[in-house]
Symmetry: C2
Subunit: 343 residues, 2 copies
């Protein structure tokens, strides 16, 4: 009904963009999951929040659907209809679900989105199997898509990075907070780019590939998604220490009590001001002191500065590329939404 | 030194064929594994028998390398140099290693090739991760190969079948020996074709694809490999009940004591003669009686008959196809070796 030219209209809000893309992708995702072995399909549907254990329909919270949105917007940014990006969207959501299923086993996380994790609800063996099936289905989905070869290469690179990032993350847990073996902030950034950034970059790049984008645009979207992944992880790290529990759903200082080696902690440990930090971290009762010391030693500021730099780098890539204006605007809206507009 | 025309020479023995293919593939397989995260690469190398826990070199028994040999011979059967099949060989060996790592977790098998299984040696989480990494590496290897798209499609179909077969296998364990819910021999055949046959068929088909074979030959080799997989599984089932422990390395009647629903058992249960079999199977002390009753009720004969039929079907496909003579002979030698010449 508006008579404004579209370039002057405010871009849709990020939740609207996420909702639109979710609606667009859902039938194809459900169809793909429906091709799985029925038992495995139930585990997959449970993990997406579509059903309860036993198969009764449910509307439990799924993820935000960021990856599928990036894939759809990637196709639109290339000037194609968003539907061209749907196979990419399905593939990346399947890979994301696979990685959550297996990561929860590896990390011993019993809860996911306020429900029992799949391995808690169905058993470890079945959860391993369901993850494998989702992984295979993702590859199958892309391999069956015209224009698939380049797409499968992009996906396989992201998969390799994802696994590499998870390996580093697991190994970081076993390393000390102090001394020459400690994890450096740079190692952490690389891990986060692999574990979180690779699939976000892949999502946008895959969508753009299926939308017919030229190689430089595909590569730039991949890089933008990787920056977004690192920024998102660092903001999450800050929230995991200083976030409002009412908003994050996590206890205050939860990451510190779990002795997670997140970026603010690692950055602080590089400062002489934080030389007593390892002692504080070893003691459950001193979490608040630890948080204060991390902030004093510059850990919080370093994390936010890096997140800001990554967000700016992603935004610069998106604005410099010759992308379809609507999709570029929606990609930027998504970026603001995910890392916080007021960073 | 021989002056006989090559068609009149006896084909090389199956162990020679396996050894030749192993030598041909080993450098590329080692190179691929070397691209993994170092920690994951060690778990992979351990699973191949190349090293001990901690990374010290070892020469522990690996697998026979049937899948890599099928890939190399598939390329040669298409008239290409065996080296054309090497990326296919690497991919299928990686997938096989992935499936063993994860299956051992799901089945709770603590030992593999007389050594602790990877999950026992390194932990469940790391073994899940290592399997994922091998899976991703397999896809990456094929996606990077010229002629990859058709190859990736073949691999993704086999992966989906593999996971489906494993799902059925896990679910069979929970079903009863008697009554309407019992597992039928037909269901078992389908499971075996998926779990064991799909990757053997894929190996030969992938090799042939990379060797430039036309589509009908690729499809026929895929079918032949699937027949081989079912035949191999059924022979293994027979050995698991009546095999010589000195040869099989397994205890007499081990499969019965573990209450495995193998083909001879399921086939026997279809006969009125076996109506007391479920009682015998429930009792560890009555394994010998159970084995005798399964034989009496025709379970052993049915398994061997089906294995024979599948072997004949595979051999017919191999002899009817216009394949390079040397490779076709070696494929048949492999078939005889795997399912037993005197079946």
């Amino acid at each position: 009904m508006s008579t404004l030219p579209s370039a002057l209209q405010a871009p849709p809000s990020a939740p609207d963009v996420l909702g639109r893309c979710r609606e667009l992708v859902r039938p194809a995702l459900a169809e793909a999951v429906g091709r799985l072995h029925p038992w495995v399909a139930e585990m997959a549907a449970y993990s997406f929040g579509w059903c309860e254990v036993g198969g009764a329909p449910a509307a439990a919270p799924g993820g935000k659907g960021v990856r599928q949105a990036l894939a759809v917007l990637g196709a639109e940014a290339a000037g194609a209809d968003g539907r061209a990006g749907v196979p990419a969207a399905v593939a990346v959501e399947l890979v994301h679900a696979f990685s959550l299923l297996h990561d929860d086993i590896m990390d011993g996380d019993a809860t996911r989105r306020r429900r029992p994790a799949v391995w808690k609800a169905y058993g470890t063996g079945p959860a391993v199997l369901a993850g494998d099936a989702l992984f295979a289905l993702a590859v199958e989905t892309l391999a069956a898509t015209p224009g698939g070869p380049r797409a499968v290469r992009l996906l396989s690179t992201a998969l390799a990075d994802l696994v590499r990032g998870q390996a580093d993350d697991l190994l970081f847990a076993a390393r000390p907070f102090a001394g020459p073996e400690r994890v450096t902030p740079e190692e952490y950034r690389v891990m986060a780019e692999h574990k979180t950034g690779a699939l976000l970059g892949c999502a946008a790049a895959l969508g753009a590939t299926l939308g017919g984008a030229p190689e430089p645009a595909v590569a730039a979207l991949d890089r933008a998604g990787r920056h977004l992944g690192v920024a998102f992880q660092l903001v999450d790290d800050v929230l995991g220490i200083w976030g409002d529990p009412a908003v994050t759903g996590k206890p205050v200082g939860g990451d510190l009590r779990e002795r997670k080696k997140t970026f603010p902690v690692l950055a602080a440990l590089g400062s002489p001001a934080a030389r007593h930090l390892p002692e504080l971290l070893a003691c459950d009762a001193r979490t608040e002191e630890a948080a204060a010391l991390i902030e004093e030693a510059g850990g919080r500021a370093a994390a936010l500065a890096e997140a800001r730099a990554r967000t700016a780098a992603a935004r610069a890539l998106l604005t410099e590329l010759p992308l379809a204006a609507g999709a570029a605007g929606e990609l930027c809206a998504l970026l603001d939404f995910l890392v916080g507009r007021d960073l």
